[in-house]
């Protein structure tokens, strides 16, 4: 167990290192000169040289990369002409575009993304497993058909369409909800949930479809297993067979999927964030790409990698906890 965790951490670190090197090479060797962009309009050659030196672009690539890595652990200083900006550890770079350390930018956006992701995930798990359960047992044929139809519709509907319809219906037409505007959980939990409700639903539509389908298939498969037949032959009531025995096997594949989906929403729910005006990580990335704010792009990519690694490790640990046959080694 401890050995497994150690290996996962080392493996994760290697993944992140390779990822950062790749991203670094790709972007810093790209033809566009970040210094010209950072310098802005009316840039004089002297000022450009200053900016270039401040951004460390005068150094060879590997030196730049080495400074970048060092910065993550010790922090680093960026001298911009007369002023010196300190970027404390863990320093993922400095956005000259917004004059802020990338880490600060990310930390500001993460609560929004986490709120979005966890809420949407809980909602879609509840709805998806519920629908899958009801249709998987095939007690109500009409419901099974209904769920199958809805699943298809859910898969096929783009998230921006759902989002726009939700906004039109609840905010414009019925006026039950104000236009979403992020309120931190710590300020007012009720307002927080109220404002996030529509984005949660929009994201949940697609995921609920996937979870319902997976639960339904898993349930039908595990209800056909030999040990379920044994349980029936020993008179265990059908309800208990479903909840205590069949469901457990059916939900195992959901563990992995949930982890990946969660990480996906945190880092790349761009459409939803934009539509509902949520200042999350996805928006940050899109803005940075548009402005060629390379340090931010590198930072977001690394964060995405980190969250993926963490989510997958968590999924594997959870898997081992749920299924006694799985041994971590």
């Amino acid at each position: 167990m401890i050995g497994h965790l150690t290996r996962r951490i080392v493996g994760g670190a290697i993944v992140l290192l390779v990822l950062s090197a790749l991203i670094y090479t790709l972007f810093y060797l790209a033809p566009s000169d970040p210094a010209i962009l950072a310098c802005g309009k009316g840039c004089t050659p002297e000022r450009l040289a200053d900016v270039r030196a401040a951004m460390g672009l005068a150094d060879p690539v590997w030196t730049q990369y080495w400074h970048f890595l060092q910065g993550i652990f010790t922090g680093r200083d960026y001298s911009l002409g007369p002023t010196v900006r300190h970027c404390p550890a863990p320093c993922l770079g400095y956005s000259f575009e917004t004059s802020q350390p990338v880490t600060t930018l990310l930390m500001d956006r993460l609560p929004v993304s986490f709120s979005l992701a966890f809420g949407a995930e809980i909602l879609s798990l509840l709805l998806g497993i519920g629908a899958g359960l009801l249709s998987g047992t095939r007690r109500f044929r009409w419901f099974d058909r209904l769920v199958n139809g809805l699943v298809l519709a859910g898969y096929a509907t783009p998230v921006f369409l759902v989002g726009l319809l939700l906004l039109l219906l609840f905010c414009v037409h019925l006026q039950w909800l104000p236009f979403p505007q992020y309120v931190p959980f710590t300020t007012d939990p009720l307002l927080w949930a109220q404002n996030l409700l529509l984005p949660w639903i929009a994201l949940a539509v697609i995921q609920t479809a996937a979870y319902a389908r997976l639960t339904r298939a898993g349930l039908q498969e595990s209800l056909a297993e030999d040990h379920i037949r044994t349980a029936r032959a020993y008179g265990i009531p059908e309800r208990r067979i479903l909840w205590r025995k069949a469901l457990r096997g059916a939900l195992l594949p959901l563990v992995t999927l949930t982890a990946v989906d969660l990480a996906g929403i945190i880092t790349s729910a761009v459409l939803t964030e934009t539509m509902f005006g949520l200042p999350g990580v996805g928006q940050l990335l899109v803005g940075a790409v548009n402005q060629i704010d390379l340090p931010v792009v590198v930072g977001v990519t690394l964060l995405t990698g980190l969250i993926m690694v963490l989510a997958n490790t968590a999924a594997d640990l959870l898997y081992a906890a749920v299924d006694p046959r799985v041994q971590l080694r």
């Binding site: 030999d226 044994t230 032959a233 020993y234 096997g249 299924d323």
Partner: protein, 526 residues
């Protein structure tokens, strides 16, 4: 007193009549065997006793004063008064629950006992089925048990509620022969100590012979013969029963002149390295084959017998050069087997379905080795071969999944014979086949051996099969040959204790002999 009375039972699935007018009775505390080949409807009939057959049922099942066809109080029957022991003990237990919890759950359900009392009962019955250290093993999960232990656990679950009837459906099919004997002995013991009646369902006449007082032979959903086990097995009246009994392998007697050594195996080892787990020390390798020396002579059939995990398949694969030995040498006609091509040695695999390419016609599969040895247009040769192994020439264009198990194994044999090899190594070639099909395939192999002057190496867990076909037998245990000699000597005067144990475990169809062997086991075993 009659405990179970089945009268004109009919079960159908749509148009298919699985059980077609089955009648029998079983006394309280008695034992009845139902024997039949796959598809005879025996398992469906057994499931109907618990209302789980899944088909439409008509007729009469009267159990202990209750009618089980017209809506029975299943809650009080299933697991409480009738308990089922299933085949496939791995999948029949819930993988997410400890063995003790599963037994306790069933016990609590029917008795309303406290959690603690149920746990104690679980440990008690696990002890009763001779699971060592039941207190600790009750907390283990099914995958931590061996096949035999799992079957014991299922029997423990069956007796937990002191049922009046235990239905055992092929309880020993996937098990090694010694474990099979232990489980049958256990069922017999349980019947004696708990007073429960036993309904034992099997495809194997030998399994039923020693464990039941009366027997029914089923075919196509009907009982073709029934009566006391002695009378049915010793003086069968129906031709199908006779055919089944004839198909059970009998000792062969062939005057055999050993030719010169053809394949020489010299001090061969095969070790598989194990994955390092956690600690820094590397675990020792698995010694699958650990120093085997033997010769295969020209024209002989050498049987290699061993239970699962004894390294017999590894040895067979090394003998045809499929995998190299870790050390030692294997030579064919004095040349290293690795440098020989398929023309000298061929192999017939255990599972004909998975060893044939599902996307190619069987004719193409047989033609492959011929093409490799330079035959331009092998179609006629392949069709001749198909005819030779008892298939029609038109089977050339069919696919493996369109054939029955016996036909597929004939294809496997045709493919092995195709390049005219001098030695064929067969790895459990008949273990997945029904007993009548098995007899036909064995007869085919013997014919081919005589006709083509082949040598055979026949690897099997089944001592009865080897006794019929082999000239010499080598007994393999833990990667080492513990005994080798002419078949009659090894069977009549076994020297090694393991050979004696194996022979005592072989199911025989003579009820008196079966009881004698059981008595012998109870003095030797445990």
């Amino acid at each position: 007193m009659t405990l179970l009375e089945v009268d004109d039972l009919r079960i159908s699935f749509g148009d298919k009549q699985a059980v077609d007018g089955l009648s029998f009775t079983l006394e309280a505390g008695g034992s009845l065997g139902i024997v039949g080949e796959s598809g005879s409807g025996k398992s469906t009939a057994a499931l109907a006793l618990l209302g789980l057959s899944g088909g439409s049922v008509s007729g009469k099942i009267r159990f202990d004063g209750t009618d089980l066809v017209t809506g029975a109080p299943w809650k009080d029957i299933r697991g409480a008064r009738i308990a089922m022991v299933f085949q496939e003990p791995l999948t029949a237990l819930n993988p997410f629950q400890t063995v003790g919890d599963q037994i306790a759950e069933v016990y609590r359900l029917h008795t309303g006992a406290t959690r603690r009392a149920a746990r104690e009962r679980a440990v008690e019955v696990l002890g009763q089925v001779h699971i060592a250290d039941p207190e600790r093993r009750a907390r283990a999960y099914p995958h931590q048990f061996s096949g035999g232990m799992r079957q014991r656990a299922l029997i423990a679950m069956a007796i937990a509620n002191r049922p009046k009837l235990i239905v055992a459906d092929e309880p020993t099919t996937a098990l090694d022969v010694t474990v099979q004997a232990q489980i049958l002995d256990l069922l017999d013991e349980v019947r004696a100590t708990t007073g429960a009646a036993l309904l034992l369902i099997s495809h194997d006449l030998g399994v039923v012979a020693g464990s039941t007082e009366s027997v029914i032979v089923m075919r196509d959903g009907r009982a073709v013969e029934s009566g006391s086990t002695e009378s049915v097995l010793l003086s069968p009246r129906h031709e199908y029963t006779r055919a089944l009994l004839d198909a059970v392998p009998k000792p062969g007697n062939r005057d055999f002149e050993p030719g010169p050594p053809l394949l020489r195996v010299r001090d061969v080892h095969k070790h598989f390295p194990q994955r390092r787990r956690g600690s820094f020390r590397k675990p020792p390798p698995v010694r699958a084959v650990d120093g085997v020396t033997l010769d295969v002579h020209a024209g002989e059939t050498l049987g290699i017998v061993g239970e699962s995990g004894t390294g017999k398949t590894t040895l067979a694969r090394m003998m045809v050069g499929l995998i190299p030995p870790s050390s030692g040498s294997i030579t064919f006609d004095g040349v290293d087997i690795a440098r020989r091509r398929g023309r000298s040695v061929q192999m017939v695999f255990q599972d004909p379905l998975s060893s044939l390419n599902p996307r190619r016609t069987i004719g193409e599969s047989i033609a492959d080795p011929l093409r490799l040895s330079g035959v331009r247009d092998p179609r006629t040769r392949v069709e001749d071969l198909l005819e030779r192994v008892g298939l029609s020439r038109s089977e050339y264009d069919r696919y493996p999944h369109q054939l029955s198990g016996g036909m597929r194994q004939r294809v496997g044999i045709a493919r092995a014979v195709a390049p005219s090899p001098r030695l064929i190594v067969c790895d459990e070639p008949v273990s997945s086949l029904d007993v009548t099909t098995q007899a036909q395939v064995l007869a085919l192999l013997e014919e081919l051996r005589a006709e083509l002057g082949l040598s055979l190496v026949f690897v099997s867990h089944d001592l009865a099969v080897l006794r019929r076909i082999a000239d010499r037998v080598a007994v393999l245990k833990d990667g080492v040959i513990v005994e080798v000699g002419p078949t009659s000597e090894v069977y009549d005067q076994p020297q090694h204790p393991y050979t004696k144990e194996l022979l005592a475990a072989v199911p025989v169809t003579d009820p008196a002999e079966a009881r004698r062997l059981r008595a012998l086991r109870s003095t030797v075993g445990r």
